[in-house]
Each structure stands twice: as C-alpha cells, then as structure tokens.
Symmetry: C2
DNA sequence: GTTGGCACTCAGTAGAGTGGAGTGCCAAAC
DNA sequence: GTTTGGCACTCCACTCTACTGAGTGCCAAC
C-alpha cells in the first residue's frame, strides 16, 4: 500500500529508512505512546530490537530528526515522533496488531448478546469500540441512498393530522407528519395509501418525485398530493446517515490543553463533518489519518482510524476511532478491523435471513 | 415556593437574611459569575444596591460566611458563593430573568424556521439551548408510555425477513425485524398485518401481550406469533425516551479541572442517568438543582436547570441546562423557560392540527 | 562504524524575596 | 450602636535565582 497523503513539509527522506533507523523509530513511538514523555537515547538503546549504544542511537536520532520523523521539544530533551514518524510506523507495521484476550472476549460477548434494530446495534457498538480502545469512537450506518421503498402509507394521528410512512428494504422507516385542511376520512386514507404504495414501492428515496395524482376524488387527491410532497421532502431533507458517537468523554483524558478538548468535542458535535471526515479518509485509501493528513484543522492533533463496513461487498458505513496522535495504533487498528468485520457479517446475515454465527439461534 | 432541598451542612441560617445581607450576597454572586474571581469587599461596596463602606461589607461577609452562604478560598482572598449561597440567590430572585434581544430573536427565528418530526425538532432545540446559554443542554421528549397504537403491520424486507411496524398516535414509529423459518407469502403477510392491526390498534405499547393467534392457517399463524412476540419485545425493551444533548463541548470551557470535565461528560453519555436526573429534579418541585442538591456525585460541581414540556397540561418531557454552579442563573432559567414553553405550544398545536403561531402557514 | 567520555544546554523545581489584594480588628465618627 | 477609615496582618501570586539532572552533541579512542 503506497503512502497516499501529500504532506508538504520541507524535510523529506531521500530514501526509505534502513532497518536500524526503523527500529529506533519504532522504539521511540512505542515508548512515547506508553509514557507520554520525550524518549531519550538511553531508553531506546535499552529497548529490544536495537542492539547499539546510546551514542549510536543519538547519531541516528539526529538523522531521523533531520528527515522529519522525530522532533525535539527543546534541546536536551528526548525525541517525540512527528506525524510523519507515526505515518512511517503505521505503514511499516510488521504484525497486523492483535487484541488482548480480554478485549477479544469482550467483543465476542457483545456480538453474541446484542439484539435489536440496526440503529441500536450501531449505537451500542460505538460504546463498545470506545471501551475497547479508550478513545472516542464513531459508527456510521449505511446510507439509505440505494435502499428501495417496500411499503408506503399514510395513517391518521388526529382528525386533520396524518403521518406518512415509508419503509425501506434496509429496515429503515422514514416518516413525515402532514397537516391537512380537512378531516381525514378512512376511505380517503386507504385510497391515498394505495396511491402512495403504487407510485413509490420499488423506488429509492431520491427517485421519489411529487407529481399530480390523477383520477381520484378531490379529497383523496389532496391527501395524496400532500403525502407525495411529504415523501419528497423526506428525500430532500436527505437525513444524512445516522452517526453514533461513543466515549466522547475520553477526549478529555487525551489532551492536556482544554482548548484542544473543546475544539475536538465541538467538531464531534457536527455530525455531518464527522461523516465527511471518515468518508474522506476512507476514500483516500487509508485506514489511518494522522494529524494534519485529513485536513480538518480542529483535529490536527488527532489521529483517525477508519474501517469500512461492507455488506455483501458494498460499502455500507464505517467505524472510526478518534484519539490523540499519540495512540496505540496497532491495537486501535485491530479493534476497528474486528468490530467492522463483525458488524459487516452481522448485517449481511440478517439481510439474508441467515442466522449470524455469533448469534446463538434462539429456540 | 418553599425551599425543598434538604442539605445537611452544619451551618444553617437561624433566620432569613435581612435586606442588606441579601444585597451583598447578590452582589457577590453577580460579580463572581462574571469574573470567576473571589470577590472582595471593595467590589461589593462599589456595586449598586449596597450603600455601605467596604468595612461594613466585610463585617457582613463574616456573618454570611458563618451562616454558610459564602466561603473563602484562603485568608486574605475574597469570597465565593457556596451552593447554599447560590440557592438563596435563586430562591430570592426579584425579577424572573429575561433574555437579551439577540437571544430572543434567535429563539423566534429558530421556532419559525424549524420543521420536521418531533425528534428532529428536539435535537435541534438542544443545540439552540446550548447556543443560547453557552452551556450543555438536554432535551427529553415525551415518554411513549401512554401513546396508543394507531397502525400495526408487518412487511417483507427479504424472503424470510420481515419488519413489524407499529405507529403510535404521538407520531412515533416503533419497529422490529423478525426472521422467519419459511419464505413469506404475500397473502400471509396481509393476514398477519390484519391480525396485528385488529389486536393492537388502540392499545398502548405496554398493554401489548403476545398471545396465540387462533383460526389462521399455519404459516400466517406463525408469522403472527413471531410478530406478536416482536411487538411485545419492543414494549419490553421499553426504549427510554429519546434524549438529545447539545453543546456538550461547552463543558470543557466550564471547568478548570480536566478530571471534572471528563466525569461530567461521562455522565452525560449515560442517557438514562441524565433522564433520571432531570426527572428527579423536576419531581422535587425545583427548577434548579445546585451542586450536591440532586445527589449525583459526578455532577457535584454542576448546576442543573430544568423546565417541563407540557402538552395540554400533561408533562411531556423536559428541557435541561447543565453548567457549572457558577452560572448566570436568571438568564439560563429564562432560556429554559422560554424554550420549553415554545416547545410545548409547538407540539400541542401540531397534535390539534392547528398551525403554530410561530410557524407561518405555508401556501 | 561504534562507543565511552565529557562539556554543554535547558526544562523543571525549589527557595527567597516582593507586591498587592484583601482581610480582621479597633478606635473614632456619626 | 452602627458605620467608617485606618492599620497591621496574612497569604497568594509572581519574579528571580540557583540548582539539579536528563539528555544532547561532539570527539577521540577502539
């Protein structure tokens, strides 16, 4: 997988790092992720995989700093990985990263117990992922763009208030209340429902167009017209995919600066932005966006990990982890991977009417 | 309105504060809310409503401290209101508190423009309230406990997967996917839908009981049975009222201690806890709970302001504001009041099929 | 090329000194 | 007797200084 981001920092490595430098960089990342303190040459030399003295490490660190992988908070401090350093670390992970046994059983337990509608599952999954990683987690459900309407009807809530309901074949239900000028007769409602069903079943939401009904009595016609408008307005409002955010309180523990915490949380509040962010990262072909790579200023000190949810091969949402750049990438990536694939399988099997392997068949 | 909380701090005022002490307390609260700095006697003496010298103010402040209304971070610092001090301040507000013109027009604009289903309105209202007050805001919609089913049906999502849909007369739609052992025939679906409608329309969700259908062909009977179970399970799951939280990022600006921020945010993540908190406060007859008054430890440094949403006199949800005890109570209370009453009116009129006064009739 | 030795740098900490905001007390004024 | 100005006192917050130690960069020796 080629590195796909286009950083513009002046110092760029002329060639790949040799094994020793890579090992030193790895050691710095590992140590810094754990301690949050700048890492000195002694600590690196002590770490496994680096068989040289501190003096040699120092020389290499100078090179790594010149090439932009490390930085020094100040002279006479240890080194900290730069975004580029993390990038190299992530791109050259030797092992895919695994979850601990506790986490694995947590995931297994979750997916064997969770029940209910997709929305509820996704919501709870975001909490699971946050719990697993100790970072904020985002789960975006499938877009309803391609889902087709399997049922459309209008029912009466009050004498002059109706509710138009469209059921999509992915299990979503869209609705809109409509106020009418006249009392709703049962008969008109049935006629209108039938007309709605006839026109809309089989269409995707965005294919819905409001059009004049023909050949109906005036009252039913007006109901149909208003209901058509309502369905069309649902499509227009194009309610973006539902976004579920779990563990946002973890953000507070991740950054020292209160202002950073505030701005990251504020960004998370804008669900549309979050969806775009995740999709951008996904589209760029990366599974990790570090620091400025994603281009969202307020999240410049964050790393984003994404993993697509794919139902029958079709991209159907995404799970994401949002934490400080100083995060345990292998673990977080593994968590995102596992959870997204579990979700994918869960929904694929539901759609097929097969039972999920995780979900014990109920008697 | 008598003070309804039962604090257990040892120092309690033997009698009410006289006018001067009250004025001094008010001045301390006002100043501290604005500056976040301990307030000295000079500042109090300078403030309008207190016509005495700093020396006199000092003497009174000693008394106020002895009686538990004020506290001193350290000798030779100014005074800070205690929770009891804020309580007195709130209980003895002379004017009800008003919103500024900007805020008023913001509210007016919002309610004249906002459209869509109740959930969407509530969601956006929580953002409005957060914006108005610069604090986190919570909006809890009406419970569906008493809502009656106006429509029930089952539709096919896949050959062996159905979706049971129940429409409630408050406009909510509940659903549950059901997996069947056999392919779903159109006819069985109609039969099952009819059976569901016959049994459930008119009932409240919690009145729904799974019962054996009689007099149906085996396939339809099994669909009905499973669907009945599904509806019953919806009722059991008793999805709590939807909770909408806006502006949680404001928490980060409200407290100095990161740990406080984290724990408050973590509490907000538990939506059930938030609902209980608001309802507890509401039930206690208060509109404000300050510091420890509500009994939720992690929110001990917060104040909670609530205002009920009442549709046709029936309690139908609540709006809340969550901020530091050092908050502008009159303004926040006014905001909660205005927003809750606007919401109440909006939904009352929708239910009646009348147009809301805020909402311009569309041509 | 690698290493130990060494001088150097600089954040962080601790201690001393200072300024100032604010208090508590008291005697004089009202 | 209530209020007030005066005054000594307290103690935080800030600054300055000195010191420590982690960690570096350089260099000569291996």
């Amino acid at each position: 997988m080629p590195r796909a981001h286009n950083s513009s920092g002046p110092p760029r490595p002329s060639e790949e790092l040799d094994g020793r430098r890579a090992a030193i960089l790895d050691a710095v990342v590992a140590e810094y992720v754990e301690t949050a303190q700048p890492v000195g040459s002694a600590a690196v030399a002590r770490s496994a995989g680096v068989g040289v003295s501190p003096a040699t490490v120092r020389a290499e660190m100078v090179a790594l700093e010149r090439e932009g992988y490390l930085t020094q908070p100040h002279t006479s401090a240890g080194r900290i990985p730069t975004d580029l350093g993390y990038r190299f670390f992530v791109d050259h992970l030797s092992e895919p990263g695994v979850l601990g046994p506790t986490q694995r059983s947590q995931v297994a337990r979750f997916f064997s117990q969770v029940r209910g509608e997709m929305e509820e599952v996704l919501e709870r999954t975001s909490a699971l992922l946050a719990e697993l990683t100790s970072h904020a987690a985002v789960v975006v459900g499938p877009s309803h763009d391609t889902a087709r309407i399997v049922s459309a009807q209008v029912v009466r809530l009050a004498s002059r208030v109706g509710l138009v309901i469209a059921v999509l074949d992915d299990g979503a239900v869209e609705k809109a209340t409509v106020e009418f000028d006249d009392d709703l007769a049962d008969e008109s409602l049935s006629v209108a429902s039938a007309a709605l069903a006839e026109r809309f079943v089989g269409l995707a939401l965005r294919e819905v167009r409001a059009e004049e009904p023909i050949g109906l009595d005036p009252l039913s016609a007006s109901i149909v017209t208003r209901s058509l408008e309502a369905v069309a307005s649902i499509a227009e409002r194009r309610e973006p995919e539902h976004v579920f955010i779990g563990g946002s309180s973890r953000i507070a523990s991740s950054f020292d600066a209160v202002e950073t915490v505030r701005s990251v949380l504020a960004t998370l509040e804008q669900q549309l932005v979050v969806v775009h962010l995740l999709n951008d990262v996904l589209d760029s072909g990366l599974s990790v966006a570090i620091g400025g790579e994603h281009g969202y200023e307020p999240l410049a000190s964050c790393a984003v990990i994404v993993a697509p949810i794919a139902i029958e091969g079709a991209p159907s949402g995404v799970v994401g982890i949002l934490g400080p750049t100083r995060m345990n990438y292998p673990e977080a990536m593994a968590a995102a991977e596992v959870v997204s694939s579990k979700l994918s399988r869960r929904f694929a099997s539901v759609r097929h009417g097969e039972s999920d392997p995780d979900e014990p068949r109920r008697g």
